[in-house]
Structure formats: C-alpha cells, structure tokens
Subunit: 246 residues, 2 copies
DNA sequence: TGCTTTAGCCTGTATATACAACCTGTCTTG
DNA sequence: CAAGACAGGTTGTATATACAGGCTAAAGCA
C-alpha cells in the first residue's frame, strides 16, 4: 500500500473541503505559502497541487490575488450517466440481468493505470448481461476499486445494477466517456447473441468520486439494436422543441 | 509582446515535430536529461513540458524506460458541437477535405420529416471526406434546408467546413445527436478506406436555429481509428482530471 | 479630500539538487 | 546454460531558492 504523493494528498484534501461544503464557490483557498506552513510542504509542491486543481477546474487562480473555489456552472452535457435499468423502464419495458462474473482480481497494468491504483491492487470484476424484454442489450464489463466498495461481492446485481449501487454508496462526481465502434470478441458475440459481422457500440466509462477514479466499465451494445442519443444547447440559448428525431 | 514561457516553447517544439511527422507514434522522445542539454533548460522545466504533454495525450511516459509519442487514436468530443477541422488542428494535425457532392436536391420523405419541411422542398446535399494528415477520418453526408442557406452551393467547403460555415451565417441553437455502430456501405467503405468487416461509428446530428431544424448530417468515422470522448459532471460538482483511458 | 507612491502578498516561472522507484541490459556466479 | 546481482538510464517526486509580474491596500503627499 503505497502512500499517495504529497501533492495528490493536498489536492484531495482541498477537493474534500469543497465537496463537503467547507469551502464554497468564490471562497478563498489557502495560498501556496499558507500551505507551506499548514501542510509542511515546500512551495513548489503546494504550487503543483493548486495548479493542477486549477487545470482541472476546481479552483481559479489569479496572479497577484489568490486562489478561489471555482463557480460551479457545468454546461448541459450530453450522454448523461444513466442507469440502463432506468432507461429501459423509461421505455416501458422490462429489465433483467444475469451475473456472469463477480469476483476479486488483481489489477493488471492498464487497469491499475486507469484506476490510479497500484498494479496488483485488489479490484472487483463484474461481468453481466442486461436484457430488455429478455433481449440482450448490454454486456457490462466493470472493474471497481476494492477499497472503495468492500461489499461489492455481497451484492445481488440482478436486483440493483452496479451503476445504481455505486451511486448509492457514494456520490458520483464525474464520468468520462469514450465511444467507439468495434467488432465483438467471440465471447461478447455469444453473450449479446450477435450475428456474424455485426458491430458493437462500445461505451467506455470511468467514474470518479472525491477526485479519484472508482470504477471503469466497458459497455458493449449490439450495433443493430442500440443507439445513443444526446442533446446539446450552447450556453445562453433558450431551448426549443426537440421531438422525435429521424 | 511577452515571450511564451520556456516549458511552453518546449511543448510546442515537440508537438511540432510530431505533427510534421519527424516524430512518429511509438518513437522515443528526448528524455528530460536530453532536453537539459539540447534545450538548455533545467530538468524540472523539461519535466513539466513532458508531463503536460503526457497529460494531454501527446506522449506516453513510462517510469524507468522513457517517453514515447502516443499512438494517435483520434478522439472527438461528443458533447460540444465542434468543427472537425478545429478538432484536428487542436491535435496539431493538418486537416484537408474533398467535396464529392454539392448539389440541389428535393427532400425525400424521411428527410422532409426530419427537417420539418414539405416533401419535395429543395435541400442542398453535401458529401465530403475529411482527412487528418491525409488519413480519412470522417465522411460527412449532410443535408441543409435550402431556404436557410441559399448560398450553400457557392461555398468552397475545402476551405471552410460546412459546420463552420453554418454556424457563421446563423447562431446554432441546438443540436441533437445519435450515435450508433454500423457496417459501412460499399461506398462509405471506399471513401474512408476501410478494411472488410471494419465497423463505423456513425454520428447523426440535427442542428437547429430559431426553433427550426436547419441541417441534418450523418458523420461516418472509421471504428478502428476514431473515438468519441465525453465528460459528464452532475450539477453541483466541478470537474477533475480527464487523461487518457485505455 | 484626492492622488500618487510604495510595501507586501500572491501567483508564474526557472533552476539546482536530491532521493526513490522502475526498467533494461549486462555481468557475474552457480 | 540459467538464475541472480548489479549498474546505468529514466521518470516521479520533493525541496530550497530566486526573480518577475500582477494586484491591493496602506502610507505618504499635495
């Protein structure tokens, strides 16, 4: 169990104060020299922590003035993090899931890097098939940081999806997505009951809580019976009527 | 006229070498100590330049081994409606386009419905291939409401993309997206220089201005060398670090 | 009072130095 | 020949120091 670097600890400490409400938007954040005194680090280390928090949008720095908690005003984003069970329910259909794998593993190189943990650190590996009216609609291949969710192996993910459970045990703060098209592996093809040469839409999602990645998931969808939808409105514009798209 | 900071100059120098092809993916990038000698900076300055290039996805660093040019797997932001030329420029690459079709047509049933115009009403049909460093990266199949953009046929879309031109002549107010995976048609396969059984990532986009649809586009991307990225932050929380995922 | 100067704090950058951890290839040894 | 020890290069982090530049408020002056 290697300790996080000092500048990362500093970042988390400040992120924690922001997310707990101890520091509110526009509040002044301790200056680099304050942190030299209070945290016992050198100014360059404090500088790196604050600079990265600035790059990441947590705080705003003004040369000659100070560092302040950023105004939280996130743009309306597309591709919201939704629970697939909710999506299906919204369509008036029935969701069901089958758990294929639910076990402890050790993080391989790439996974460790993605989740920002040590190589070989324990992670929980989940593999499940989601169905809409008994038709396979998503193969969920998920890794969860073990220390974040110790009870992961005790959960019955047929009843509550991993996504729903994770956002229940800790507030989800952030999600990154990547979307790509790819041909499925033999196994994925089987689980999703795909025909030959039928592509998959793969959503790769990394979710964060308290400034740390907690889960990494690959979500495979059959290209022939699935699509993502999104909506974008530039800042400062009032919406009109989006109805059915082509 | 203030000069750029030294670490920024270093970054640009390396980005330039990458985008000019002097450094190719997986090539070794000069180490921090090399830069100390060749660029005459301190190691910490070289470190900052390389570290930021790593955070931005240009290079990949492996402790104990070295720094290497990242495999370029193009990424594009789903959320924001962006001009592909800008996306490519942001990556330090060169954008080029070829216009295949640019003509007046009459709206077919489905298209008329999508664009909320009468069946048979005039629309402009554009078909163009976008390239990133001469590699086809997007086939744009677009229909524009004729009454909205009468000068559409006079434009040279090799110089300015349809997306850029449209948002210049009228403020874009809304965009709907759909994303799906599909196998390309023979013609799409040819234009994108795709191999057999190689899937496409298709973004279908309808843009609105003044409460009316003005344009409908299908954007085909090669599944093997393209991905969409997105970022989601629930209300009340501010962003953290998006870096490269596996 | 009203304007100017100045002192002081803050961030931004740059350097020199140091040590830890990691990886690879080589050399030694059994 | 194979396994292990080792050296050298590389990144990752941390510190101390220095100077430039921006901003603010207090001090000084008219």
């Amino acid at each position: 169990m290697s300790a996080l670097p000092r500048y990362q600890q500093l970042k988390q400490q400040i992120i924690g104060q922001i997310s707990r409400g101890e520091l509110k938007p526009r509040d002044r954040v301790p200056s680099e020299n304050d942190l030299v005194g209070s945290a016992g680090v050198s100014r360059m280390t404090a500088n790196r922590a604050l600079r990265e928090l600035n790059d990441e949008g947590y705080v705003e720095r003004v040369a000659g003035v100070g560092t302040f908690v950023a105004d939280l005003q996130s743009a309306s984003h597309v591709l919201e993090v939704r629970n697939i069970a909710d999506e299906i329910a919204l369509r008036g259909h029935r969701h069901s899931a089958t758990v294929i794998t639910q076990q402890n593993e050790r993080a391989a190189d790439e996974m460790a890097k993605s989740l920002r943990i040590d190589r070989g650190a324990p992670v929980f590996h989940l593999l499940l098939v989601h169905r809409e009216n008994d038709v396979p609609i998503q193969l969920e291949d998920r890794f969860v940081v073990a220390s974040f969710a110790p009870d992961c192996l005790k959960q019955d993910f047929c009843r509550q999806t991993p996504s729903a459970w994770l956002s229940a045990i800790a507030p989800l703060q952030e999600a990154e997505h990547k979307v790509r098209a790819a041909m499925p592996s033999k196994e994925t093809q089987k689980h999703l009951q795909l025909g030959d040469h039928e592509p998959c839409l793969v959503v790769i999602r990394r979710t964060w809580s308290d400034g740390r990645p907690v889960s990494f998931a690959r979500l495979y969808h059959p290209g022939s019976r699935f699509e993502l939808t999104g909506h974008y409105t530039p800042p400062g514009i009032r919406k009109s009527t989006p109805d059915q798209a082509p």
